[in-house]
Symmetry: C2
Subunit: 323 residues, 2 copies
């Protein structure tokens, strides 16, 4: 499959694997890159030793690295440590990329800015982003309120007005070839895909937590602050995270202040459940597309299916286009 | 443009105009139907005299009628009055369609059920819906939390499993040909489009309210209960409505209990602003796609542009599908 993005990045499938914090290590990232997409280490909150380790595991494959921007601002040296590995790209999301864009550009590394609003896209364009990812609320994990469907074409229009060399990816709700084909119709050059790769053999996720997610429908996810509060992560108030609901989430969702008061005992409970894979307490960051996923696959099969199904959809499109 | 839906409904463009309460009268509905789509009178809260009037205005065109289901349950006779007009379809949303499905089926009128979750789609299938509309939170007006992007293919899969004769429309964020093409890629047979038709010469909306909306981006909309509280409408708690933000909405959003206390004076203020077209108080129910709309057009131009642009997108799709 060729798009402007496959050409620009030297990949064969217009798919960037989302740099899911904790879940996307070197094994997943290298598997995705080896299968023709762009794999990403989920650098997340910037544990530099862990990032080094994962680049080591991915050695030999061209992989990028994602970082949570507001957290990077607290420890900017982590970016230098990432750039030492000559990543295929740096993927910034959730904060102002401006302080970090020059170092990334100077290193000759493509800058991917994930945005959740049109306003953020303006900022990313100002910063010289090479790729903008329009991430809708349909996505798993952190994000904001705007939906994927209208955000993508609105940012596509803005890119066309300001700098048509900038590439655009859609993110949020894209798990199969139908979604990839739809993203291209909306004006994207490719897709950023998380949840589908979370359900891969290569992702770092407890099998019991994943099994619970595979049995769920998209109705079973919600956007909440519960997981951040219980982990003690100080996310800016504009962001929350989409997770699979479970009894723990249901108990504390919209009672976050009470959770904060019980933080110590609940945090211990959560951490134990994470380790044990107790899906009634711990949960996975999954998008609404989880309802389209029923089995764990290898990253390579996921990419092959995505591309094959997208091509079928696009080929069928011609029949619709006849008057 | 041919899809299963154009064939089944005897229309030439796979577009149903959303039955926007108050805004979609007989003029808009008949203009849409005359231009090859399916026009819908926005029967909304079930003002039977108004509905009669609008069918009169649309006389000669095959138009359908939409009703808010939970409100219809309070005054079921309104359905009989709608069926007297032999509508092209009845479009039910926001409540259980089961009590009304038999009368609609017995009248030989196609039943369109708009749903916001997979669970609701199961119910609609049980009720014998002819068309299911998967409406995402990206939409303007009332709805729920799930996004259009993953809801559509998830319901498409459910329809394929249960009864593949049922047709599927996507709704929420679809305002141009890119969106229509994307909806088809996601597995829909057509699209339900509201906001784009709100910005038509034929819609019933104050020009100053509409002007404010045309200047907005998708970032400027939000889902809220403010408008229902100020109007005294007793919507079930699962639903809220996407509107264009303005100072009034910003003041009361998430302070709905306080608004309820000041209801009398604020309701008068709101009603006056509605009549005068004061966009700082009154507002339009618009979806996130408002950011893609910059001008008022005729319903017929809107449909021609939608179809033409969708066909271009679909024709270009072939180039992506080549390896």
């Amino acid at each position: 499959m060729k798009t402007r993005m496959t050409e620009a990045l030297g990949i064969t499938r217009p798919v960037i694997q989302a740099p899911m914090a904790f879940a996307a290590g070197g094994t997943l990232a290298s598997a995705v890159s080896s299968a023709g997409g762009m794999g990403m280490i989920g650098g997340g909150y910037g544990d530099a030793d862990w990032i080094d380790q994962q680049f080591g595991i991915a050695a030999g494959a061209r992989v990028g690295c994602g970082l949570i921007t507001w957290k990077l601002a607290e420890q900017p040296h982590v970016l230098d440590q990432v750039l030492v590995h000559d990543p295929a790209a740096v993927f910034l999301s959730f904060g102002d990329p401006a302080p970090f864009a020059p170092a990334i550009r100077d290193a000759g590394v493509p800058l991917i800015c994930q945005v959740q609003t049109l306003r953020d896209a303006w900022r990313a364009l100002d910063c010289g982003a090479d790729i903008i990812v329009a991430q809708g609320a349909d996505a798993g994990g952190h994000g904001e309120a705007r939906g994927t469907f209208a955000l993508v074409p609105e940012i596509a229009d803005e890119i066309a007005r300001q700098n048509s060399k900038v590439l655009l990816c859609a993110a949020g709700g894209i798990t199969d070839g139908r979604g990839l084909a739809a993203a291209l119709m909306l004006g994207a050059d490719g897709a950023v895909i998380g949840t589908r790769f979370l359900a891969s053999h290569e992702a770092l996720v407890h099998p019991r937590i994943l099994d619970r997610a595979l049995a769920a429908t998209g109705d079973d996810t919600l956007r909440t602050r519960v997981v951040d509060v219980v982990r003690g992560y100080d996310w800016p108030s504009r962001y929350n995270g989409r997770v699979l609901s479970n009894p723990f989430i249901q108990k504390w969702h919209q009672s976050e202040a009470a959770l904060q008061r019980d933080a110590k005992s609940e945090a211990a409970k959560w951490a134990a459940a994470q380790n044990a894979g107790d899906p009634d307490v711990a949960t996975a960051f999954v998008g609404e597309g989880i309802g389209l996923i029923n089995a764990v696959q290898s990253a390579s099969d996921i990419l092959a299916n995505l591309a094959g199904e997208a091509q079928e959809c696009l080929a069928r499109a011609v029949s619709h286009s006849e008057r």
